[in-house]
Structures are given as C-alpha cells and as structure tokens.
C-alpha cells in the first residue's frame, strides 16, 4: 500500500463514507503499513512493545526509555532504577514485571502532581488495580512523554508558573529542583540515589550563587529567606538554558559583540594523545599554517582574560556542555568538568560547522576555536558562544520552517526514496551514541525536537551523505536528524495507533475480545461488538468463568473511559490526514502526521475542548 492510497481512503472516511472498501483500506494503512514503516507495533501493550524479534517495536520502546529518563530527572525514579532499566535494554531483555510496576507507580505520582491531567480531556488514571494503571500508561504514553519532557526541557518549553509557591510538592517544584541539580549540585559529591525532589528554601542560597555568576543580573528579584514566591524572571532563566547562557555571557563579556578575548584553558589526561592529535598535519603548508596558529594563540594567551572558574558549580562549563549536548555532539554528564568527552564534542562541533550550509564562523575563525598550547588546550569561548547560538533551539514557527527546508533539501538531493530503508537499516549503528546509559545513569539523551531539527538543518549536507551511506561521522547532525525523525514518528504512530484502536472498536465494528483462563489449551472467548449505531452484540463462551467475564467487563469499561478522548483525537487526526498532500514515502507521512499530533497535544494541554466541542463526559 502506498501513502497516497491511504490518504485517499482517509479523505473518504472523513466524508463519512463507511464502505467496507474504505474501512479495509484505512485499517490496512494504520494497522499494517504504518507499523512496518515506523517500526512501531500497533498494539501498545508492554508485552508486545518489548518483544524482540521480527515485529516492529523499537520506537515504542524508545518512548518508554524517554519516559524513564524524564521521571528519573524529576526524581520520581532513582538513578539506580535508571541504570537497571538500561541494563535490561542493553542486554536485549524486556523490563521485569517489577520494573514496570515501579515505573507505573512513578507515573501515578507524576500524574497526581501535574495539573495537566485533571484539567484536560484525558481520562483519569485509575487509583487502584495495577493492571488497569499499567493499561492506562500504555495508552497514554505519548501524552506522558510530552508532559514529562516539558518539565525537564532546557529549551523554554515550560512556562513560568505564577501560582508556584516555594516548597510546593508539585511537578513544577520537581522541575526547578532538577535544574538546580544540573546547574549546581549534581555529581560533585559522587553519585547518589538520594536527591532533593522539590525546590525549597534550602536551595535559595544557590540562587544567590547563580546571581553572582550572572554578574548580579537577578539581584533585584532574588527571594528573601522567608519568601514564598519565586520571581517569574528567575523562573524563566532557570527554565530556558539559552536565556541563561546569554545572560551568563553578557555578565562575563563574551557575547558575539564583545571585542575582548575570553578563554578556557584545560589539560587532558597525558596518555590520551588527544592534544597531539590536534596538530597532525599531513602537508607542509598545513603544518606551517598550524604553527602560525599556535604562535598566535600563545601571544593571545599572554594578554587574555582567562576563564578560570565561576564558583564551585563551574556554571560556565556546565552551560557549554549543555549547548554541546543540545547540538548532538556531547553525550557525557553535564557536570562542569571539561574532560575528554567535552573536548571531543567541541572538536566534533567545529568539524561539523565546516560543512554547514550557512556557517556562522569563517574557516579562519573555526581554526581559532580550539587550539593546543604545549600540553594544554585553549578554547576561545566567544567563538564557542557564537557557534552554540547557531545550534540553540529556534522558536516554534522558525523550527517549522527549518523542518520544511530539511525535507525540501532531502527531496532536492534525490534521496527521499532511500530514506525509509536507510533509517530502518542504519539507525542501529547510532545506538552507541546514546551514551551507554546502563553504565552512566547520570547521563541523559537530548530529546528537544526544535533543537534536533536545527542541528540537522545546519549540516544538511552531512545528513544527506549519511542517507546515501557515504558518511561515517555520526555525532552531531546525523544523530540529531535520526532522533528528530524517530521522535516524530514515535509521537505520530503511538498516539494515532492507540486512538485508532478506539475508533475501530467504536465506529468500525471491531469487536472487543477477551480470552478467559480456560482449561488446558482451550481458552474461552468473551466478546462485545458495537455497531456504528451502538446496537451491540455480547457473546460469552459457556465455559467462561465469572472472573473471565469480570476481566472482560473491566477491559471494556477501561476502553469506555478513554473513548471520548481518543475518538476526538483520532477524528481530528483523520481529518488532518485527509487534507494532506500525499507524500511518496511513509516516513514522511509519519513526520507530517506528527506535526498534527503535536498540534492536538498542544490543544489538549491548553485545556480547551478539542475541536471546539464541549466535553461530553
């Protein structure tokens, strides 16, 4: 089946054509073609998702991994749990029942602390019954990831909360505490599972420290010892790393407009040989150029203001690591220690920028970003700042424009036809770049969509070479591109598939079927089927036990609770699909659908009735 045929069927369905031919075609598109091309199983349950083998499952697994990371960052889960979760992943094993139970419990805690769930159409998470809670999590995975990711976002995805009071036990309070850990506390006293979950008064002194690092920029709004509210401006700085980095650079006078030089000087472990690698020219002319560069660097070093430190937290380095992490080049911990990982990330960024379509630094400026001076490495922070600015996540409208540009470039290069296959075949080769989380529970993967798109767009030529299978460099743009596409299709597939199950059960005549415990090999069938007008047939096998019937009732009842929400979401998405210009390939269709999914999620988050309809329940 081709996307064009599927879209045509959606268009007929949208016009309320319920012929068998249309239903068959739409179901084939959603239940067969999309799962195969998106590598997402149609069924959302844990067993199917984590089953390894011939069936697609990895992208929905990725959603679980992302959720675990966000909940760990928000201290609903411990780093120890995170580590054990990824040990199972690394060993190609599904999570244990106990791990799933712990995760569901953490989701329940998140659910109670995030106001989104009580103010939106999304049905409430069951208060009891572990199996029902797990089913709820399975069905609402996309919404959960979407919400949790906003609380851990450094990209300004979370707005300041004027209602927030210092010490509140809320998801927002956890989000603030998480930021304080990243900017100040984490990893200095060794790794520990014991973390402060909520922002409270004991953390206020750190805001004074932050103010010092920012040259007093926050002085007017710093909270006193007995304060109950946290100034909106301070919240904004904590929630948006781009704003924080800009403020930091202004305070330390190394913005793009500043004329002075501001350097970071560091030494790498002697045995790594990395410093030597910086100057291994393969031509005489190149040797001479590098020697000139080194002499010039030495002269500059003599008179420059050196970046030494900005307090015990090393905020400047943390922010630089964060920028490199968002650019897809850094996979280490944001810990303020500029070691080998950070050094390599910086080199990768410079190398990538040399291939940028519209570079923000010229070749000579790029030469000056990282240089060796004897056994030490000197980094020009002003130039690094300019580079990282170019990779900072753009506003929503700009990100959409860039994404459109990304796909136009792929079309123009004539590689659209091979993208689907390449993505399926070569995505696995990027796995090591996720940072071996099983061994490093304090590392985290960057999932910010706008930042990923920008990273990919900046070096689109590298991405296209990767699609053509002609590039080995995987960090940076390629990594960003794959993550962005995967995240898009994850969101599209996961929410649409789940919603379509409801649509199919309630409006396309697909029966609800439960299997009882039975005896031996035989399993009794209990079944409920709604026709479109809700005339209903129930059937129970005579050998079904009371418990079998109760189980089926619980199942239908759970689906009933979610029906109003999912039917609305799915109807909106089918309507959107019906209006799309049919792309040639499924992955592209997934990306287009994902944009609609995001729009619907934003509408859900706004608390307004979906599609301007009143809430029915």
């Amino acid at each position: 089946m081709q996307p064009a045929e599927f879209i045509a069927s959606c268009e007929r369905l949208q016009r309320l054509d319920r012929s068998a031919e249309v239903i068959q075609s739409v179901r084939e598109g959603v239940e067969v073609a999309m799962p195969d091309h998106f590598a997402i199983p149609f069924s959302p349950d844990v067993t199917t998702t984590f089953r390894r083998g011939g069936r697609p499952s990895r992208h929905r697994r990725g959603q679980w991994h992302e959720l675990v990371q966000h909940l760990k960052d928000l201290a609903y889960l411990t780093p120890k749990f995170f580590s054990s979760w990824h040990q199972r992943r690394a060993a190609d094993q599904p999570p244990t029942a106990r791990q799933i139970a712990s995760l569901v419990k953490a989701v329940r805690a998140f659910w109670t602390e995030d106001p989104f769930w009580t103010t939106s159409l999304v049905p409430a998470m069951p208060t009891q019954d572990a199996a029902r809670q797990q089913r709820w999590v399975e069905h609402h995975l996309t919404e959960l990831v979407y919400r949790a990711s906003s609380y851990t976002s450094f990209d300004g995805d979370l707005s300041p909360d004027v209602q927030y009071r210092i010490g509140d036990r809320s998801a927002f309070g956890r989000s603030l505490a998480f930021r304080m850990r990243v900017y100040f506390r984490d990893y200095q006293g060794g790794h520990t599972n014991s973390r402060k979950a909520y922002f409270d008064r004991k953390l206020l002194p750190l805001l004074y420290s932050l103010n010092n690092s920012l040259g007093g920029a926050l002085a007017a709004s710093l909270p006193g010892r007995d304060a109950t509210v946290l100034d909106e401006g301070i919240q904004r700085v904590l929630l948006d790393a781009t704003l924080l980095f800009a403020t930091y650079r202004r305070a330390n006078r190394f913005t793009a407009r500043d004329r002075g030089s501001y350097y970071l000087l560091y030494q790498l472990e002697p045995r790594t040989g990395e410093v030597k690698d910086l100057v291994v020219p393969d031509a005489k002319e190149e040797q001479r150029r590098l020697l000139r560069l080194r002499r010039r660097t030495k002269r500059k070093l003599t008179n420059a203001r050196l970046y030494i430190d900005t307090g015990g937290n090393r905020l400047g380095i943390r922010l630089m690591q964060l920028g490199l992490w968002r650019a897809g080049c850094y996979i280490g911990v944001l810990d303020g220690v500029f070691g080998l990982q950070s050094h390599r990330a910086l080199l990768a960024l410079v190398a990538q920028e040399r291939e940028a379509v519209r570079p923000v630094l010229g070749p000579r400026q790029l030469d000056r970003v990282v240089n060796s001076v004897g056994e030490e490495v000197l980094v020009d922070l002003r130039l690094v700042g300019i580079l990282l600015d170019a990779y900072a996540p753009p506003p929503q409208v700009e990100a959409q424009r860039e994404e459109a540009h990304l796909w136009q470039a792929i079309d123009a290069a004539g590689v659209a036809e091979t993208l689907d296959e390449q993505l399926l075949d070569r995505e696995a080769s990027l796995r090591p770049l996720y940072g071996h989380l099983e061994h490093h529970p304090h590392r985290r993967v960057y999932y910010g969509l706008r930042g990923l798109i920008r990273g990919a767009v900046r070096a689109i030529t590298v991405v296209i070479s990767w699609i053509r299978d002609r590039v080995r460099q995987l960090l940076g743009a390629v990594f960003d591109f794959v993550k962005a596409v995967v995240k898009r299709v994850q969101e599209a597939g996961s929410l649409f598939f789940t919603g379509f199950r409801y649509f199919s059960h309630y409006l396309l005549g697909r029966p609800f079927i439960s299997l009882g415990a039975g005896v031996g090999e035989e399993r009794p069938v209990v079944l409920t089927r709604f026709a479109l007008d809700f005339d209903t047939v129930c059937f129970t096998d005579r050998t079904a036990s009371v418990e079998d019937i109760r189980m089926h009732q619980r199942y239908v009842s759970d689906m009933q609770r979610g029906a109003a929400y999912f039917l609305r979401v799915t109807a909106l998405l089918i309507r959107s699909l019906a209006t799309l210009s049919a792309p040639q390939r499924w992955i592209r269709l997934g990306v287009l659908l994902a944009r609609e999914v995001r729009r619907v999620l934003q509408e859900v988050a706004s608390g307004r009735p979906l599609g301007r309809l009143e809430q029915v329940e």
């Binding site: 309320l16 199983p41 069924s43 007008d533 059937f539 309809l613 029915v616």
Partner: protein, 124 residues
C-alpha cells in the same frame, strides 16, 4: 442496498439494541503467539473469531442461544427479554448484559454528535 454512511447511521440512532448470546467458542492457546489472556492484542485473529462465531450462529444445529435482549427506544423506554430459568452462571452473564446496555447508551450519547462534526470539520 447502498452502504450506510456514518451520517445515515447516526441519524438512525433512534433506538438501541443489545443482544447477549452464549454458546461454544474457544481459541487454542497455540494460536496466540505466546500472548497472555485478556486485552485485545493484535495476535488475536479478530476476523477468524468473528467468522467462527457467525458460522456457529448460522448452523442449523447451532448451540448458540440468546440469553438476553434489550431494546431501548429514543424516549428511553426500555424492554428486556431474558431467557427463562437462568442458572447461577447465567445470572452473571445477565449482569454483564445489563452493564453493556448501560455502556452502549453512554457511548452512543457521547459519540453521536461530536465525532461526525469533528470528522467533517464542522464548528459545531
């Protein structure tokens, strides 16, 4: 006869009928690809189960019996027919039937208006 559209069905929703049947319909564990009981996982062969069920109903010596049937009209008048002399097990089926009637009524009320308009893009 032309196929009914969503709109036709929704306009026709002046009444609701729920029928509960009992009989013999089981699935072999081997057919389930290792899936646990319950739920509606993809490895269940819906089409096959429905065909089997419909096949059983059509048989002359069918062992499928109607246990209860409920008709709810637009003005909410409700008539329920129940098989005589229910066994204790069948009493549970009846409870299941009554729950389904309730669920179908709520679902219908929720869906009738909204989904058509959402699909068509009406502003309601």
């Amino acid at each position: 006869m032309a196929t009914k559209s969503f709109g036709d069905f929704i306009n026709d929703m002046t009444s609701l009928d729920v029928v509960t049947l009992t009989g013999n319909l089981t699935v072999q564990v081997n057919d389930l690809e290792g899936r646990a009981a319950g739920g509606d996982g993809e490895s269940l062969k819906f089409g096959r189960i429905m065909q089997q069920l419909e096949g059983n109903i059509m048989k002359k010596d069918s062992k499928i019996h109607a246990l209860a049937a409920t008709h709810v009209s637009l003005d909410k008048d409700t008539v329920t027919f129940v098989k005589e002399n229910l066994t204790p097990e069948e009493a549970v089926y009846l409870e299941f039937h009554n729950e389904t009637v309730k669920a179908a009524g709520i679902a219908r009320a929720a869906m009738a208006d909204g989904i058509t308009k959402l699909l068509l893009g009406s502003k309601g």
